[in-house]
Subunit: 153 residues, 2 copies
Amino acid sequence: MLKLSKLTDYAVVALVRLGQKSEVTTSPVLSRSTGIPEPTVAKVLKILATQGIVTSQRGARGGYRLAQPLEEISIAAVIQAIDGPISLTTCVDGGDCDARSTCGLGGQWDMVNAAIRHALSAITLADMKNHTVTDRLGGLHVPPMPDGPEATA
Amino acid sequence: MLKLSKLTDYAVVALVRLGQKSEVTTSPVLSRSTGIPEPTVAKVLKILATQGIVTSQRGARGGYRLAQPLEEISIAAVIQAIDGPISLTTCVDGGDCDARSTCGLGGQWDMVNAAIRHALSAITLADMKNHTVTDRLGGLHVPPMPDGPEATA
DNA sequence: CCATAATTGGACCAGAACAGTACTGTTTCC
DNA sequence: GGAAACAGTACTGTTCTGGTCCAATTATGG
């Protein structure tokens, strides 16, 4: 379905909420604040901590804090932290494409991947919080799309 | 991992190959021509037929044919045909988001979805065949990306 | 006009990946 | 020393993808 994992969705919600607090925040607090189940939000924060998106403070009075302001964290960074690298096909960069010789299109998917990564890198968590899109998005902000439900024409 | 299904990859390969033939082509022929297992390529073509990407002719001497030239079929159309709608999260357009009131970001994912759809609509199957990217891609072709493996900064 | 063969169409089943949960261990404050 | 909170690992249930099989349909040949 070309949809990212629900964990990533939770991560964005939690990070945005975390960015609205200046103090270190615990998982239970963030759970109550976002509505995400406590074990799940804990898991998400754990992963984000390992990836350097948030910094953690262990022990009593511990919690999590953003490693960077919301404006500096791109959607692509969050997705890569939770879901792993953004690669639409396995047939990229030395993947295990068993029909590489016959399929005809060498590594053309790389171009598609780059396009998506670029689109995702241009959107930050601050953009997700605010309902206004910054100008950095260039021509990407909800343009008149030429694609219909079925075909392109 | 934000990767699309292998079926979609197969679909692109099969469609490009199909675009190089002017006659109706059967699944077995396309299988031998692409290296994709016969049942799989048959399934892919079947789905593409229901979505109107290809036209089918049943019975003996039947087969498949492109409904439109390769230049008119976008990657987005193929992905939507195989994988379903491009919606990164379930929390879009009346989805089953159970924390809509608490999560804070209303339908901001729509913006992300639109950006990806736009990027995918700009690439056609003809672009996948040829190794040159058309000018319609604008600023999307492998730009200097500001995103690192871990964080954005 | 009928039988046969070829081919698509739709349904079914197995395998893997993911989401979610629980438990144990380590660290820090009181 | 006790309590609170993160860190890491392991497990289970569910969903989805990938692949296979059988039924419906049509052109061809007799």
